[in-house]
Amino acid sequence: MSEAPIIQIKNVSKVYGGSVKAVDEVDLEVHRGEFFALLGPSGCGKTTLLRMLAGFEVPTAGQVIIDGHDMAKVQPNKRPVNMVFQSYAVFPHMSVEQNVAYGLKMDRRPSGEIKKRVAEALELVKLGGLGKRMPDEMSGGQRQRVALARALVKRPSVLLLDEPLSALDAKLREAMQLELVRLQKTVGITFVIVTHDQSEALSMANRIAVMNAGTVQQVAPPTGLYEAPASRFVADFIGKINLIDATATRAGDGEVKVNAPKIGEVTLKGTAEGKVALAVRPEKIFVADKQPADPGVIAVKGKVGEVAYFGSYSNVFFDIGLGTPLQADISNVTSDVEEFTFKAGEEYWIYWRKADTLVLGD
């Protein structure tokens, strides 16, 4: 991107009580108009990072630059960002309209303009006509829309969202994911969302930063994260994956010779050396009765163990003689139950393409 990034986080750390590192020397850039996700397990520092963007936490070290301005001395009420809080934080004693108008009132906008912009914002989040309602007369999903309208009405440079969907039930959450993407495209404002739900991040964001223990592990688009994880942690955190401990030595340009138990020696694309993990996603595994002849695949013999049925696919665990079984997601492509049912103890050849195999360092 040619334009300067709208958010620059430069070498930022946050230390609590002199020793607890919540955020540890993080460098990040968020581009203008992007839907950016901070993803990680709880306690990884993603919320602290978001709160530093909003101004509720002060970095112990480093620099936060938003829209070209250093935010070090800027109070939360003067920042060009607005936030949607996890609890929505809809003011209970104000009507929907008053809630949405609050930020504009603080900016001392003329009342005619406030009225117009509030109506537009409510229309945008499909709450037109509900302006006179009180928050306790609304559902959780509606209250969230109020929170969204209230933040968007101020036309911030960046909209921050702190686990915005975690309190909604599954159906509503999925609908809201699509809604947020639509909204972001409509208003063109940069969104930064914090979430611990990978499917949320994968389905909504343009780019995702995976965090763990206060550090950024990888920043990539969803497909990049899933298909080319940079480390064992990222591979394990995003989706399901089979990891087999192995050793690797360099074998030419961008290739390594991997030696793994039960699999033997294979030459694969990769750069990690020494102790590595040989990794393959469950949906990329195939099952056959006979040993496949294709030299482009890795094949092992396995015995069926646990089978979990998920409707469109079955998650089948194969014992291949290692400590942990290999799991494969087998699509249930026929409605003939007999044909796709795996019985415990049956032996199969399981195989996957070498090109789908990842070699991951720690």
Partner: protein, 284 residues
């Protein structure tokens, strides 16, 4: 469930209200709690100077009460003190509660304990201490009304505001801090956050705290007795001095008025608080 109707079902393990002994204890408790009060109210309408036998209905003693200048003056004093105490104690209590809730500072625990001290100190000690204190600093006496009520009011505020602070603090405990952060995020200054978001949330606590301060002040006897002068008699002190000679139906009438007043104020406050709770519920 009626208390007396026979219920054919066997008494279940959780049917406490249907066990004889529990019913008996409840009945005895209610009797000793309310019989004296009901008796007091009934005898305020008794057509007899002596408070023993019923001689017919009259409202004479209410007329007498309203015509008794000494009693009316004491009544006015009590109301004035109670109102001033309510306003000041509620504001002080609210500020104390807010500071203790919002900020962390060295010696906070000590301050919190020290603030609550007037609640645990025996009232008689507070009374004596106040009396000695006002005498020692040479608090002027013989001032015109209502400035002469100053010392009593100060004493009342001193022991009533911790109660208000504790009630308001409890209300603040379930405040969602994200509401305050959100207002700040939307452009509000610290002061606007307090005014627009925190105070509306505190309102039921302010009402409850204020009511508590009002009733505490209105019916306080011990501390008032020690800080009152001859020209600053309050209602409870006046009733006490009347009872020293004899319990007349006039005293009954005065007490009934006091009960009525407290009931009305309490009802209004509870109603207001209920209404506010309905609005405040969605905050959590």
């Amino acid at each position: 469930m009626s208390l007396f109707r026979r219920n054919p079902d066997p008494i279940g393990p959780l049917d406490y209200a249907r066990r004889f002994w529990l019913r008996a204890i409840v009945a005895v408790t209610l009797f000793f709690l309310y019989a004296p009060i009901l008796g007091l109210i009934a005898f305020s309408f008794n057509d007899s100077r002596r408070n023993v036998v019923w001689r017919g209905f009259t409202t004479d003693y209410y007329v007498k009460f309203f015509n008794n200048d000494g009693l009316m003056l004491a009544f006015g004093n009590s109301l004035t003190i109670a109102l001033m105490t309510t306003v000041v104690a509620t504001i002080l209590g609210a500020l104390t509660a807010y500071v203790l809730w919002r900020y962390r500072f060295p010696g906070k625990a000590v301050y919190e304990g020290g603030m609550a001290l007037p609640i645990v100190i025996p009232e008689i000690c507070m009374g004596v201490a106040m009396m000695v204190f006002f005498a020692r600093i040479g608090w002027p006496t013989g001032l015109p009304w209502p400035i002469n009520l100053g010392s009593i009011t100060i004493a009342h505020i001193a022991f009533a505001f911790p109660f208000a602070a504790i009630v308001i603090r409890a209300r603040l405990e379930n405040f969602n801090r994200e509401l305050a952060e959100c207002a700040r995020d939307l452009g509000a200054s610290e002061y606007r956050v307090f005014r627009d978001i925190v105070v509306p949330h505190m309102k039921p606590g302010l009402i409850a705290g204020g009511l508590l301060a009002f009733t505490l002040s209105l019916d306080d006897f011990v501390i008032t007795f020690f800080t009152a002068g001859p020209d600053t008699v309050t209602f409870p002190v006046k009733i006490y001095s009347m009872v020293r000679f004899s319990v007349t139906p006039e005293v009954n009438a005065a007490s009934t008025i006091l009960i009525l007043l407290t009931l009305v104020v309490t009802t209004i406050a509870l109603w207001l608080q209920n209404r506010n709770n309905m609005i405040g519920k969605s905050a959590h």
